[in-house]
Subunit: 110 residues, 2 copies
């Protein structure tokens, strides 16, 4: 279940990961996704993560980071590298990854 990340005041960085799941290996995917959240949370500079997937397997995950160096370090984390390899091989039909700088933010809560 998705949840809004309580990120600090901008500026900070984010990775927008937009993807279409393939039909393959649902069990392996769920376990990997859970493990990646757990690992990311422990990375230096991690600020939060938001994720939503619709019933057709189209998903958006946005992870938030203090700076670009934190994003680079996370990209090269050993287990994450293996997950990236399996993602390209099995789990994703296609994806688009965008590294962005968050300049302004506005929150609304009822």
């Amino acid at each position: 279940m998705g949840e809004i990340s309580k990120t600090p005041k901008p500026p900070y960085y984010a990775v927008i990961f937009t993807n279409q799941r393939s039909a393959d290996d649902d069990t392996g995917y769920a376990g990997m996704a859970e493990r990646m959240v757990e690992l990311a949370t422990r990375q230096p500079g991690y600020l939060g993560m938001e994720s939503a997937r619709d019933e057709d397997g189209f998903g958006i995950t946005v992870s938030y980071w203090r700076d670009e160096a934190s994003i680079r370090a996370w990209k090269l984390e050993a287990e994450h590298l293996e997950a990236q390899r399996l993602g390209r091989e099995k789990w994703y039909k296609n994806f688009f990854l965008r590294v962005v700088k968050v300049e302004r933010a506005y929150e609304f809560e009822k």
Copy 2:
């Protein structure tokens, strides 16, 4: 159903709109959401939109824009202003809106 946007080479801008739907007025919401996509598509500087919502009503919509001026103009579009008002009043329990600059992008397709 969501779809990956074929955006041009960075830099460009984006709005990450993360939100939790309230239980209210599903019909009104669907019609408004459809109309907003239609309107956004016709705005100057519009580059694309990606959207996913999970079964618990947590959603992420990322819209892509040529520059900040395009985002400001879209924010002030008359029908969109009314949709924003209704969103705060009825459709969203809470949301987080982030204006970002896309600096790098990487695409994968099988």
